[in-house]
Amino acid sequence: MIWRQAVREPIRYGFAVGRVRVLESRMLSSGTYERLLDAADFTEQKRVLSDSVYGRFLEDAETTDDVERALDAALDDLYAFLESANLPKPVLRFFRVRYDYPNLAGRLKAELLGVPAEELYVDLGSVPVDVITGPPAQLPPFLRGLYRTLSAEGAGVTEEEITAATDRALYADLSASAEASKSPFLAGLAALMADLANVKALLRARMKGLRQPDVARLLIEGGSVPTDDLLALYPQPFDGVTEGLARLPLFAGVSAEQLADTAGLDVLADDLVVRYLRRARRIATGPEPVIGYVMARQAEVIMLRTLLIGRLSGVPSDVLRRRLRQRYEE
């Protein structure tokens, strides 16, 4: 144990942790978010961000598509840093693979249901988008099996079923990557993400009034809360479900009313992930500070996307403010 703590991890991660400690201090402050909210237009927002890490990516952006591309480029740059940080392969996979399954879902929806998929693809995964959209035989084995299974169902499959199947495979992959990384922090993060996905699915299904067997198909394994426990709450009225969920240790400090606000559920889920990530800041060395930083930067990109595209689309500041998440640095 002492050998791992004192020698192996500092040597393996020390350099990356040192860089992360400086980079964390360059993350956007709450003051910057206020200035972005108060900015009269997108040009002023760009000026606010000109000295940040996003400045060079947003320099020529004018439209919402440009902003999407610029922020994806900023994320790609972040993942390039991650790859240079000498982290174990399963940790790198944990971050990249999260784009592969939604990309595959996009292809399947396009092929089976005729949904326009061009805007669904994000080229940040471990598999390039042109491979995902190319011949099925060239798909990597972890995607090929899923593609064949869902393709075999033909046009009878629904959009929700494709999303549910790819999500299930994604969370199983995240759990396996977290386990292979031997990082309890990453394993906890994978479990939390699975829990939050389940809770969101459960509450949205309850709002729609889906049948319990259909809900069971939406839930994924790998969370800290067994899916049977979640399903046991389902027959109750909506308020009963939120009260039952609020009693879970997972939602310590969260009220049933907050859970009942399904419009704010994504923000609440992201805040809970940030709350978990802040533990990484108390760890001096190891993979945790690097993982925490990368996740925090991802959350920062989500907030920036909300603020920049929101301003370009003319969304009022008070609506944008409600969509903001907690900051890692607070």
Partner: protein, 169 residues
């Protein structure tokens, strides 16, 4: 006078003690400095102006190696091993006592340097976030140093007592 103790002569025990002190302190310092230097290099890569502020942190675990060296030199000087043309007359039991006197430095410097390196990593994180905290950041690893200094004092006191009780011939 040169009778063996547990199969080893007095000089062998004394040299083994001196060697252990130097090895323990040296290994601890090497690990401690590697630990903090990796993090310090990462910090300086992103912000070269912090070099001067993280350098004292990186150097701090090196002191245990010096304490090991001091202990080894004291053993050789006190008991006339340094530069001797013939094996000094040290009884086996006395040699064993010299060996025991070296153990505080050998063990504590090994462990404290490693832990000091770990503490310095946390302190370097403070410096990375706020340069103005570099003074405060030095204090925490310095607290770990206290115990290496205590070990050195203990070993020196024991060695000097042994040197006055059993002067080497």
């Amino acid at each position: 006078m040169n009778e063996a103790f547990w199969g080893l002569s007095g000089v062998s025990w004394a040299v083994m003690g001196a060697a252990l002190a130097a090895i323990g302190g040296g290994i601890g310092s090497a690990i401690g400095i590697t630990t903090i230097s990796n993090t310090a290099s990462g910090i300086v890569t992103e912000d070269s102006e912090k070099f001067g502020r993280v350098l004292p942190l990186a150097a701090m675990p090196g002191t245990q190696g010096i304490y090991g060296l001091i202990t080894a030199i004291l053993v050789m000087v006190f008991f006339n091993i340094l530069g001797a043309s013939a094996e000094p007359a040290i009884a086996g039991e006395t040699g064993f006592k010299i060996f025991l006197a070296c153990l505080p430095v050998a063990a504590l410097c090994l462990v404290s340097a490693i832990y000091q390196g770990m503490t310095a990593v946390g302190a370097a994180g403070m410096v990375a976030r706020r340069s103005e905290d570099s003074g405060k950041a030095l204090i925490f690893p310095a607290l770990v140093e206290t115990y290496a200094v205590f070990a050195l004092i203990t070993s020196i006191l024991m060695l000097s007592s042994l040197a006055s009780i059993y002067p080497a011939g």
